[in-house]
Protein backbone atom coordinates (compact mmCIF):
# COMPACT_ATOMS: atom_id res chain seq x y z
CA UNK A 1 0.00 0.00 0.00
CA UNK A 2 1.34 3.35 -0.86
CA UNK A 3 -1.35 5.69 0.33
CA UNK A 4 -0.47 9.21 1.45
CA UNK A 5 -0.37 9.90 5.14
CA UNK A 6 -3.65 11.22 6.63
CA UNK A 7 -2.91 11.51 10.34
CA UNK A 8 0.44 12.31 11.91
CA UNK A 9 1.03 11.99 15.65
CA UNK A 10 4.10 13.86 16.85
CA UNK A 11 5.89 13.33 20.13
CA UNK A 12 2.66 12.68 22.00
CA UNK A 13 2.68 12.15 25.73
CA UNK A 14 -0.48 11.55 27.71
CA UNK A 15 -0.85 11.11 31.43
CA UNK A 16 -3.72 10.47 33.76
CA UNK A 17 -3.44 11.38 37.45
CA UNK A 18 0.23 12.13 36.76
CA UNK A 19 0.77 8.53 35.63
CA UNK A 20 2.01 8.43 32.02
CA UNK A 21 -0.16 6.35 29.69
CA UNK A 22 1.83 7.08 26.51
CA UNK A 23 5.20 8.73 26.17
CA UNK A 24 6.73 10.41 23.12
CA UNK A 25 4.68 8.62 20.51
CA UNK A 26 5.33 9.26 16.80
CA UNK A 27 2.95 7.59 14.38
CA UNK A 28 1.59 8.01 10.84
CA UNK A 29 -1.76 6.68 9.68
CA UNK A 30 -2.34 6.11 5.97
CA UNK A 31 -5.32 7.52 4.14
CA UNK A 32 -8.07 5.16 2.92
CA UNK A 33 -6.70 2.29 4.90
CA UNK A 34 -7.75 0.43 8.01
CA UNK A 35 -5.23 0.61 10.81
CA UNK A 36 -5.94 -1.79 13.64
CA UNK A 37 -4.76 -1.18 17.18
CA UNK A 38 -4.50 -4.25 19.36
CA UNK A 39 -3.00 -5.01 22.70
CA UNK A 40 -3.94 -6.05 26.20
CA UNK A 41 -6.87 -4.28 27.82
CA UNK A 42 -6.22 -1.45 30.24
CA UNK A 43 -3.27 -0.08 28.25
CA UNK A 44 -5.25 2.87 26.89
CA UNK A 45 -6.33 1.84 23.40
CA UNK A 46 -9.63 3.70 23.77
CA UNK A 47 -7.84 6.62 25.35
CA UNK A 48 -5.61 6.84 22.30
CA UNK A 49 -8.65 7.11 20.01
CA UNK A 50 -10.08 9.86 22.16
CA UNK A 51 -6.90 11.88 21.63
CA UNK A 52 -7.67 12.02 17.91
CA UNK A 53 -11.07 13.70 18.39
CA UNK A 54 -10.29 15.47 21.67
CA UNK A 55 -13.01 13.54 23.52
CA UNK A 56 -10.61 12.95 26.43
CA UNK A 57 -10.79 16.61 27.35
CA UNK A 58 -13.96 16.13 29.44
CA UNK A 59 -11.85 13.99 31.78
CA UNK A 60 -10.49 15.68 34.86
CA UNK A 61 -6.88 14.94 35.85
CA UNK A 62 -5.80 14.13 32.29
CA UNK A 63 -2.94 15.89 30.52
CA UNK A 64 -1.58 15.76 27.00
CA UNK A 65 1.54 17.08 25.30
CA UNK A 66 2.64 16.83 21.69
CA UNK A 67 0.83 17.39 18.38
CA UNK A 68 -1.72 15.64 16.22
CA UNK A 69 -2.00 16.74 12.57
CA UNK A 70 -4.60 15.70 10.06
CA UNK A 71 -4.60 16.40 6.35
CA UNK A 72 -7.71 18.35 5.37
CA UNK A 73 -8.11 19.64 1.79
CA UNK A 74 -4.37 19.34 1.18
CA UNK A 75 -3.49 21.30 4.32
CA UNK A 76 -1.97 19.92 7.52
CA UNK A 77 -4.17 21.03 10.40
CA UNK A 78 -3.19 20.88 14.07
CA UNK A 79 -6.35 19.48 15.71
CA UNK A 80 -5.46 21.16 18.99
CA UNK A 81 -4.85 24.48 17.25
CA UNK A 82 -7.17 27.40 16.71
CA UNK A 83 -8.05 26.81 13.04
CA UNK A 84 -10.45 23.96 13.73
CA UNK A 85 -13.17 24.16 16.38
CA UNK A 86 -13.86 21.10 18.49
CA UNK A 87 -17.34 20.46 17.02
CA UNK A 88 -15.94 20.83 13.48
CA UNK A 89 -13.12 18.45 14.29
CA UNK A 90 -15.60 15.87 15.55
CA UNK A 91 -17.57 16.10 12.35
CA UNK A 92 -14.38 15.41 10.36
CA UNK A 93 -13.28 12.66 12.77
CA UNK A 94 -16.27 10.45 13.56
CA UNK A 95 -16.33 7.93 16.38
CA UNK A 96 -18.14 4.66 17.04
CA UNK A 97 -18.13 3.14 20.50
CA UNK A 98 -17.80 -0.33 21.95
CA UNK A 99 -21.48 -0.65 22.80
CA UNK A 100 -23.93 0.92 20.36
CA UNK A 101 -25.09 4.25 21.76
CA UNK A 102 -28.14 5.44 19.86
CA UNK A 103 -29.80 8.45 21.48
CA UNK A 104 -33.22 7.89 23.07
CA UNK A 105 -35.15 8.96 19.98
CA UNK A 106 -36.36 7.55 16.68
CA UNK A 107 -34.03 6.14 14.02
CA UNK A 108 -34.74 9.15 11.84
CA UNK A 109 -34.00 11.64 14.60
CA UNK A 110 -30.80 9.85 15.48
CA UNK A 111 -29.70 10.19 11.87
CA UNK A 112 -30.80 13.82 11.66
CA UNK A 113 -29.08 14.73 14.94
CA UNK A 114 -25.64 15.64 13.51
CA UNK A 115 -27.34 17.73 10.82
CA UNK A 116 -29.46 19.49 13.40
CA UNK A 117 -26.28 20.39 15.24
CA UNK A 118 -25.00 22.22 12.17
CA UNK A 119 -28.30 24.02 11.76
CA UNK A 120 -29.33 22.23 8.58
CA UNK A 121 -33.13 22.38 8.34
CA UNK A 122 -34.05 21.87 4.70
CA UNK A 123 -36.14 18.69 4.82
CA UNK A 124 -35.34 17.36 1.36
CA UNK A 125 -31.61 17.76 1.84
CA UNK A 126 -31.71 16.20 5.31
CA UNK A 127 -33.70 13.23 3.99
CA UNK A 128 -31.32 12.73 1.11
CA UNK A 129 -28.28 12.74 3.38
CA UNK A 130 -29.91 10.35 5.82
CA UNK A 131 -30.87 7.94 3.06
CA UNK A 132 -27.37 8.02 1.58
CA UNK A 133 -25.67 7.40 4.93
CA UNK A 134 -28.03 4.54 5.82
CA UNK A 135 -27.31 2.94 2.44
CA UNK A 136 -23.56 3.29 3.00
CA UNK A 137 -23.97 1.52 6.34
CA UNK A 138 -25.93 -1.38 4.79
CA UNK A 139 -28.92 -0.47 6.91
CA UNK A 140 -31.36 1.23 4.58
CA UNK A 141 -33.29 -1.85 3.50
CA UNK A 142 -33.79 -2.96 7.09
CA UNK A 143 -35.08 0.34 8.45
CA UNK A 144 -36.63 2.26 5.57
CA UNK A 145 -40.17 1.31 6.70
CA UNK A 146 -39.63 2.06 10.36
CA UNK A 147 -37.61 5.26 10.37
CA UNK A 148 -39.84 6.80 13.00
CA UNK A 149 -39.67 3.90 15.43
CA UNK A 150 -37.41 4.06 18.46
CA UNK A 151 -33.78 3.22 17.77
CA UNK A 152 -33.85 0.88 20.74
CA UNK A 153 -36.14 -1.48 18.82
CA UNK A 154 -33.24 -2.45 16.55
CA UNK A 155 -31.01 -5.47 17.15
CA UNK A 156 -27.52 -4.91 18.55
CA UNK A 157 -25.87 -5.22 15.14
CA UNK A 158 -28.42 -2.87 13.58
CA UNK A 159 -27.90 -0.36 16.39
CA UNK A 160 -24.16 -0.40 15.78
CA UNK A 161 -24.66 0.11 12.04
CA UNK A 162 -27.03 2.94 12.90
CA UNK A 163 -24.26 4.53 14.94
CA UNK A 164 -21.85 4.12 12.02
CA UNK A 165 -24.42 5.62 9.67
CA UNK A 166 -25.01 8.48 12.08
CA UNK A 167 -21.30 9.23 12.04
CA UNK A 168 -21.26 9.01 8.24
CA UNK A 169 -24.00 11.64 7.89
CA UNK A 170 -21.46 14.36 8.64
CA UNK A 171 -19.21 12.95 5.85
CA UNK A 172 -16.22 12.40 8.11
CA UNK A 173 -12.78 11.88 6.60
CA UNK A 174 -11.63 9.77 9.48
CA UNK A 175 -13.62 7.18 11.43
CA UNK A 176 -12.48 5.93 14.84
CA UNK A 177 -14.00 2.64 15.96
CA UNK A 178 -13.54 1.35 19.51
CA UNK A 179 -13.99 -2.43 19.48
CA UNK A 180 -17.08 -1.99 17.34
CA UNK A 181 -18.03 -5.68 17.24
CA UNK A 182 -17.23 -6.77 20.78
CA UNK A 183 -20.85 -6.59 21.93
CA UNK A 184 -22.21 -8.40 18.86
CA UNK A 185 -22.65 -12.01 17.78
CA UNK A 186 -20.51 -13.47 14.98
CA UNK A 187 -23.07 -12.88 12.23
CA UNK A 188 -23.62 -9.23 13.08
CA UNK A 189 -19.87 -8.76 13.50
CA UNK A 190 -19.06 -10.06 10.04
CA UNK A 191 -21.60 -7.66 8.45
CA UNK A 192 -19.80 -4.81 10.20
CA UNK A 193 -16.39 -6.08 9.08
CA UNK A 194 -17.55 -6.12 5.44
CA UNK A 195 -18.94 -2.64 5.93
CA UNK A 196 -15.66 -1.30 7.30
CA UNK A 197 -13.69 -2.65 4.34
CA UNK A 198 -16.16 -0.96 1.98
CA UNK A 199 -15.84 2.33 3.85
CA UNK A 200 -12.13 2.57 3.05
CA UNK A 201 -12.90 4.34 -0.20
CA UNK A 202 -14.60 7.16 1.76
CA UNK A 203 -12.63 7.40 4.98
CA UNK A 204 -9.48 6.61 6.86
CA UNK A 205 -10.33 4.10 9.55
CA UNK A 206 -8.68 3.34 12.85
CA UNK A 207 -10.12 0.31 14.62
CA UNK A 208 -9.37 -0.83 18.13
CA UNK A 209 -9.81 -4.59 18.31
CA UNK A 210 -8.51 -7.39 20.43
CA UNK A 211 -9.59 -10.14 18.05
CA UNK A 212 -6.46 -11.03 16.11
CA UNK A 213 -8.41 -12.95 13.48
CA UNK A 214 -10.54 -9.89 12.88
CA UNK A 215 -7.43 -7.76 12.56
CA UNK A 216 -5.92 -10.08 9.98
CA UNK A 217 -9.19 -10.09 8.00
CA UNK A 218 -9.71 -6.36 7.72
CA UNK A 219 -6.59 -4.39 8.64
CA UNK A 220 -4.05 -3.00 6.21
CA UNK A 221 -1.70 -2.15 9.05
CA UNK A 222 -1.76 -3.37 12.63
CA UNK A 223 -0.18 -1.78 15.64
CA UNK A 224 0.21 -3.34 19.02
CA UNK A 225 -0.02 -1.14 22.07
CA UNK A 226 2.62 -2.12 24.59
CA UNK A 227 3.58 -0.36 27.80
CA UNK A 228 3.49 3.35 26.86
CA UNK A 229 4.16 2.88 23.13
CA UNK A 230 3.20 1.20 19.87
CA UNK A 231 4.89 -1.64 18.03
CA UNK A 232 4.08 -2.80 14.50
CA UNK A 233 2.63 -6.30 14.41
Amino acid sequence: MDNPVKIRVENLTFSYHQTPVFEHINLDFNAHAITAITGPSGRGKSTFLSLLNRLWESQPFAKMEGKVWILLDGQWVDIYGKTLSKPDLRRKVGMVFQTPNPLPMSIYKNMAFPLKLTGMTEKALVDAKITAALRQAFLWDEVKDRLHDSAFGLSGGQQQRLCIARALVSQPEILLLDEPTSSLDAGAASVIEDLLVRLKERCTLIVVSHYLDQVSRIADTALKLEARGFLPV
Binding site: H17, G44, S46, T47, L49, Q59, F61, Q98, G119
Partner: protein, 299 residues
Protein backbone atom coordinates in the same frame (compact mmCIF):
# COMPACT_ATOMS: atom_id res chain seq x y z
CA UNK B 1 -34.98 29.81 16.61
CA UNK B 2 -31.39 29.84 15.55
CA UNK B 3 -29.46 27.56 17.88
CA UNK B 4 -26.50 29.92 17.98
CA UNK B 5 -28.57 32.85 19.25
CA UNK B 6 -30.45 30.57 21.63
CA UNK B 7 -27.17 29.15 22.87
CA UNK B 8 -25.72 32.60 23.44
CA UNK B 9 -28.82 33.66 25.37
CA UNK B 10 -28.69 30.50 27.48
CA UNK B 11 -25.04 31.10 28.30
CA UNK B 12 -25.70 34.70 29.36
CA UNK B 13 -28.75 33.57 31.31
CA UNK B 14 -26.84 30.88 33.22
CA UNK B 15 -24.05 33.29 34.13
CA UNK B 16 -26.68 35.80 35.24
CA UNK B 17 -28.47 33.25 37.41
CA UNK B 18 -25.26 32.21 39.15
CA UNK B 19 -24.25 35.82 39.73
CA UNK B 20 -27.66 36.86 41.10
CA UNK B 21 -27.95 33.82 43.37
CA UNK B 22 -24.46 33.83 44.82
CA UNK B 23 -24.32 37.62 44.78
CA UNK B 24 -27.46 38.11 46.81
CA UNK B 25 -26.53 35.50 49.39
CA UNK B 26 -23.00 36.87 49.71
CA UNK B 27 -24.45 40.36 50.05
CA UNK B 28 -26.79 39.23 52.85
CA UNK B 29 -24.03 37.41 54.70
CA UNK B 30 -21.63 40.29 54.12
CA UNK B 31 -24.15 42.73 55.55
CA UNK B 32 -24.59 40.47 58.57
CA UNK B 33 -20.85 40.31 59.15
CA UNK B 34 -20.26 44.04 58.68
CA UNK B 35 -23.08 44.95 61.04
CA UNK B 36 -22.53 42.20 63.56
CA UNK B 37 -18.79 41.62 63.91
CA UNK B 38 -18.25 44.70 66.12
CA UNK B 39 -20.67 43.21 68.65
CA UNK B 40 -18.70 39.97 68.94
CA UNK B 41 -16.71 39.64 72.10
CA UNK B 42 -16.73 38.39 75.62
CA UNK B 43 -19.54 40.73 76.67
CA UNK B 44 -21.88 39.48 73.95
CA UNK B 45 -21.88 36.03 75.49
CA UNK B 46 -21.28 36.65 79.18
CA UNK B 47 -22.44 40.22 79.72
CA UNK B 48 -20.95 41.62 82.92
CA UNK B 49 -20.49 38.23 84.56
CA UNK B 50 -17.09 36.64 84.94
CA UNK B 51 -16.58 33.83 82.40
CA UNK B 52 -15.63 31.25 84.99
CA UNK B 53 -18.56 32.13 87.23
CA UNK B 54 -20.93 31.80 84.31
CA UNK B 55 -19.58 28.49 83.05
CA UNK B 56 -19.52 27.01 86.54
CA UNK B 57 -23.12 28.27 86.95
CA UNK B 58 -22.16 30.36 89.99
CA UNK B 59 -23.75 33.50 88.64
CA UNK B 60 -26.63 33.88 86.27
CA UNK B 61 -25.98 35.74 83.00
CA UNK B 62 -28.76 38.22 82.29
CA UNK B 63 -27.41 40.35 79.47
CA UNK B 64 -25.48 37.83 77.41
CA UNK B 65 -26.10 34.95 75.04
CA UNK B 66 -24.68 32.35 77.40
CA UNK B 67 -28.06 30.90 78.49
CA UNK B 68 -29.24 30.74 74.85
CA UNK B 69 -26.05 28.98 73.76
CA UNK B 70 -26.32 26.55 76.67
CA UNK B 71 -29.98 25.93 75.78
CA UNK B 72 -29.22 25.26 72.12
CA UNK B 73 -26.36 23.00 73.11
CA UNK B 74 -28.51 20.93 75.47
CA UNK B 75 -31.42 20.64 73.08
CA UNK B 76 -29.09 19.56 70.25
CA UNK B 77 -27.12 17.04 72.31
CA UNK B 78 -30.22 15.48 73.84
CA UNK B 79 -32.32 15.25 70.69
CA UNK B 80 -29.52 13.97 68.46
CA UNK B 81 -28.52 11.60 71.26
CA UNK B 82 -32.09 10.31 71.28
CA UNK B 83 -32.34 10.06 67.51
CA UNK B 84 -28.98 8.36 66.82
CA UNK B 85 -29.60 4.93 68.36
CA UNK B 86 -33.11 4.63 66.96
CA UNK B 87 -32.15 6.08 63.59
CA UNK B 88 -29.03 3.97 63.12
CA UNK B 89 -30.82 0.77 64.15
CA UNK B 90 -33.70 1.58 61.81
CA UNK B 91 -31.20 2.24 59.00
CA UNK B 92 -29.53 -1.11 59.65
CA UNK B 93 -32.87 -2.85 59.48
CA UNK B 94 -33.82 -1.11 56.25
CA UNK B 95 -30.53 -1.99 54.58
CA UNK B 96 -29.87 -5.47 55.90
CA UNK B 97 -33.15 -7.13 56.88
CA UNK B 98 -36.17 -5.40 55.36
CA UNK B 99 -38.15 -7.18 52.67
CA UNK B 100 -38.91 -5.30 49.47
CA UNK B 101 -42.41 -4.63 50.75
CA UNK B 102 -41.13 -3.31 54.10
CA UNK B 103 -38.59 -1.16 52.33
CA UNK B 104 -41.34 0.38 50.28
CA UNK B 105 -43.80 1.01 53.13
CA UNK B 106 -41.24 2.13 55.72
CA UNK B 107 -39.44 4.14 53.08
CA UNK B 108 -42.65 6.00 52.27
CA UNK B 109 -43.23 6.72 55.96
CA UNK B 110 -39.68 8.02 56.39
CA UNK B 111 -40.07 10.26 53.35
CA UNK B 112 -43.33 11.64 54.72
CA UNK B 113 -41.77 12.21 58.13
CA UNK B 114 -38.76 13.92 56.54
CA UNK B 115 -41.04 16.24 54.59
CA UNK B 116 -43.37 17.31 57.41
CA UNK B 117 -42.92 21.06 57.92
CA UNK B 118 -41.06 21.66 61.17
CA UNK B 119 -43.87 23.84 62.55
CA UNK B 120 -46.18 20.81 62.22
CA UNK B 121 -43.68 18.67 64.13
CA UNK B 122 -43.69 21.47 66.70
CA UNK B 123 -47.47 21.39 66.79
CA UNK B 124 -47.30 17.65 67.36
CA UNK B 125 -44.96 18.12 70.32
CA UNK B 126 -47.18 20.87 71.62
CA UNK B 127 -50.31 18.73 71.41
CA UNK B 128 -48.45 15.91 73.12
CA UNK B 129 -47.70 18.32 75.96
CA UNK B 130 -51.36 19.37 76.19
CA UNK B 131 -52.34 15.71 76.21
CA UNK B 132 -50.06 14.99 79.17
CA UNK B 133 -51.21 18.19 80.88
CA UNK B 134 -54.86 17.19 80.57
CA UNK B 135 -54.75 13.50 81.34
CA UNK B 136 -51.61 12.79 83.30
CA UNK B 137 -50.17 15.72 85.19
CA UNK B 138 -51.60 19.19 85.57
CA UNK B 139 -48.08 20.52 86.15
CA UNK B 140 -46.83 19.48 82.75
CA UNK B 141 -46.15 22.29 80.27
CA UNK B 142 -44.16 22.54 77.06
CA UNK B 143 -40.54 22.16 78.17
CA UNK B 144 -37.07 21.03 77.21
CA UNK B 145 -38.13 17.37 77.15
CA UNK B 146 -40.92 18.06 74.68
CA UNK B 147 -38.57 19.97 72.38
CA UNK B 148 -36.03 17.18 72.56
CA UNK B 149 -38.55 14.53 71.53
CA UNK B 150 -40.03 16.67 68.75
CA UNK B 151 -36.58 17.55 67.34
CA UNK B 152 -35.60 13.89 67.50
CA UNK B 153 -38.64 13.17 65.30
CA UNK B 154 -37.48 15.91 62.95
CA UNK B 155 -34.00 14.45 62.38
CA UNK B 156 -34.78 10.76 62.71
CA UNK B 157 -35.38 10.23 58.99
CA UNK B 158 -32.06 11.94 58.09
CA UNK B 159 -30.11 9.55 60.27
CA UNK B 160 -32.05 6.51 59.11
CA UNK B 161 -31.65 7.41 55.47
CA UNK B 162 -27.91 8.15 55.63
CA UNK B 163 -27.26 4.95 57.59
CA UNK B 164 -29.24 2.94 55.09
CA UNK B 165 -27.48 4.56 52.14
CA UNK B 166 -24.02 4.14 53.67
CA UNK B 167 -24.63 0.44 54.32
CA UNK B 168 -26.16 -0.20 50.92
CA UNK B 169 -23.23 1.54 49.29
CA UNK B 170 -20.80 -1.14 50.47
CA UNK B 171 -19.72 -3.56 47.78
CA UNK B 172 -20.51 -7.25 47.70
CA UNK B 173 -16.87 -8.09 48.36
CA UNK B 174 -16.89 -6.24 51.67
CA UNK B 175 -20.24 -7.75 52.47
CA UNK B 176 -19.24 -11.36 51.85
CA UNK B 177 -15.68 -11.43 53.18
CA UNK B 178 -16.61 -11.98 56.83
CA UNK B 179 -19.63 -14.13 56.00
CA UNK B 180 -17.33 -16.48 54.13
CA UNK B 181 -15.21 -16.78 57.27
CA UNK B 182 -18.24 -17.94 59.23
CA UNK B 183 -19.47 -14.67 60.74
CA UNK B 184 -23.16 -14.38 61.52
CA UNK B 185 -25.20 -11.61 59.91
CA UNK B 186 -25.20 -9.56 63.10
CA UNK B 187 -21.45 -10.05 63.61
CA UNK B 188 -20.93 -8.99 60.03
CA UNK B 189 -22.91 -5.81 60.68
CA UNK B 190 -21.04 -4.85 63.83
CA UNK B 191 -17.51 -5.97 62.88
CA UNK B 192 -17.42 -5.15 59.18
CA UNK B 193 -20.32 -3.18 57.74
CA UNK B 194 -20.79 -0.49 60.40
CA UNK B 195 -17.06 0.30 60.80
CA UNK B 196 -16.81 0.59 57.02
CA UNK B 197 -19.74 2.99 56.74
CA UNK B 198 -18.98 5.07 59.80
CA UNK B 199 -17.99 8.17 57.84
CA UNK B 200 -21.22 8.12 55.83
CA UNK B 201 -23.30 7.78 58.99
CA UNK B 202 -21.26 10.47 60.71
CA UNK B 203 -21.83 13.03 57.98
CA UNK B 204 -25.57 12.33 58.24
CA UNK B 205 -25.42 12.87 61.99
CA UNK B 206 -23.57 16.15 61.57
CA UNK B 207 -26.21 17.40 59.15
CA UNK B 208 -28.82 16.35 61.72
CA UNK B 209 -27.00 18.39 64.36
CA UNK B 210 -27.09 21.40 62.06
CA UNK B 211 -30.81 20.90 61.48
CA UNK B 212 -31.46 20.78 65.24
CA UNK B 213 -29.29 23.79 65.96
CA UNK B 214 -30.96 26.03 63.39
CA UNK B 215 -34.55 24.96 63.88
CA UNK B 216 -36.80 27.62 65.30
CA UNK B 217 -40.31 26.52 64.40
CA UNK B 218 -40.28 23.31 66.45
CA UNK B 219 -38.91 24.84 69.62
CA UNK B 220 -41.10 27.94 69.57
CA UNK B 221 -44.12 25.67 70.07
CA UNK B 222 -42.53 23.32 72.55
CA UNK B 223 -41.03 25.25 75.41
CA UNK B 224 -38.44 27.79 74.36
CA UNK B 225 -38.84 31.22 75.98
CA UNK B 226 -37.03 34.53 75.82
CA UNK B 227 -35.64 34.48 79.37
CA UNK B 228 -35.18 31.32 81.35
CA UNK B 229 -31.52 31.22 82.24
CA UNK B 230 -29.46 28.07 81.95
CA UNK B 231 -31.69 25.01 81.39
CA UNK B 232 -31.99 23.42 84.82
CA UNK B 233 -34.30 20.49 84.22
CA UNK B 234 -35.87 18.52 81.42
CA UNK B 235 -39.25 19.74 82.61
CA UNK B 236 -38.36 23.44 82.56
CA UNK B 237 -38.26 26.04 79.82
CA UNK B 238 -35.03 27.10 78.22
CA UNK B 239 -33.53 29.64 75.84
CA UNK B 240 -32.08 28.99 72.39
CA UNK B 241 -30.03 30.97 69.88
CA UNK B 242 -32.38 30.82 66.87
CA UNK B 243 -35.35 31.77 69.02
CA UNK B 244 -33.37 34.63 70.51
CA UNK B 245 -32.70 35.96 67.01
CA UNK B 246 -36.40 35.74 66.16
CA UNK B 247 -37.43 37.33 69.43
CA UNK B 248 -34.96 40.23 69.24
CA UNK B 249 -35.95 41.03 65.66
CA UNK B 250 -39.41 42.10 66.79
CA UNK B 251 -38.94 42.94 70.49
CA UNK B 252 -35.69 44.85 70.63
CA UNK B 253 -35.89 48.04 72.68
CA UNK B 254 -32.53 49.65 72.03
CA UNK B 255 -29.57 49.52 69.67
CA UNK B 256 -27.54 47.38 72.04
CA UNK B 257 -30.16 44.64 72.06
CA UNK B 258 -30.36 44.71 68.29
CA UNK B 259 -26.58 44.40 68.11
CA UNK B 260 -26.71 41.30 70.28
CA UNK B 261 -29.25 39.93 67.77
CA UNK B 262 -26.69 40.41 64.98
CA UNK B 263 -24.07 38.78 67.19
CA UNK B 264 -26.34 35.80 67.85
CA UNK B 265 -27.00 35.45 64.12
CA UNK B 266 -23.27 35.38 63.38
CA UNK B 267 -22.65 32.76 66.06
CA UNK B 268 -25.49 30.58 64.74
CA UNK B 269 -24.28 30.97 61.16
CA UNK B 270 -20.75 30.13 62.27
CA UNK B 271 -21.93 26.98 64.03
CA UNK B 272 -23.87 25.87 60.94
CA UNK B 273 -20.91 26.67 58.64
CA UNK B 274 -18.48 24.70 60.80
CA UNK B 275 -20.86 21.72 60.88
CA UNK B 276 -21.28 21.96 57.11
CA UNK B 277 -17.54 21.92 56.46
CA UNK B 278 -17.08 19.07 58.92
CA UNK B 279 -19.66 16.98 57.06
CA UNK B 280 -18.04 17.98 53.77
CA UNK B 281 -14.58 16.91 54.91
CA UNK B 282 -15.86 13.59 56.18
CA UNK B 283 -17.69 12.95 52.93
CA UNK B 284 -14.61 13.78 50.90
CA UNK B 285 -12.64 11.43 53.05
CA UNK B 286 -15.10 8.69 52.08
CA UNK B 287 -14.77 9.43 48.39
CA UNK B 288 -10.97 9.36 48.55
CA UNK B 289 -8.59 12.25 47.91
CA UNK B 290 -9.09 12.31 44.15
CA UNK B 291 -12.85 11.93 44.28
CA UNK B 292 -14.77 8.98 42.85
CA UNK B 293 -13.12 7.32 39.87
CA UNK B 294 -14.84 8.47 36.77
CA UNK B 295 -12.69 6.89 34.06
CA UNK B 296 -14.62 7.11 30.86
CA UNK B 297 -12.00 6.10 28.40
CA UNK B 298 -10.17 3.33 30.10
CA UNK B 299 -10.67 0.49 27.64
Amino acid sequence: MNIRILGGCLRVFSWGAVLVLTGSVLMLLGYLLVKGVPSLGRDLIFGQVDVLDAVLLKKRVFDGLFPAIAGTLSVVVLSVGLAIPVGVCAGIYMSEFATVFQQRVFGLMFDILAGIPSIVIGLFGFSGAIFIHKYISKDFRPCLAVSVVALAFLVLPYITRTTQAALQGLGDQTRQAALALGATRVQNIFYVLLPRSVSGILSGIILAIGRCAEDTAVIMLTGVVATAGIPGSLLGSYEALPFYIYYISSQYTDAAELMSGYGAAIILLGVCAVLFFLAFLIKRHVAGPAGPARGRFHG
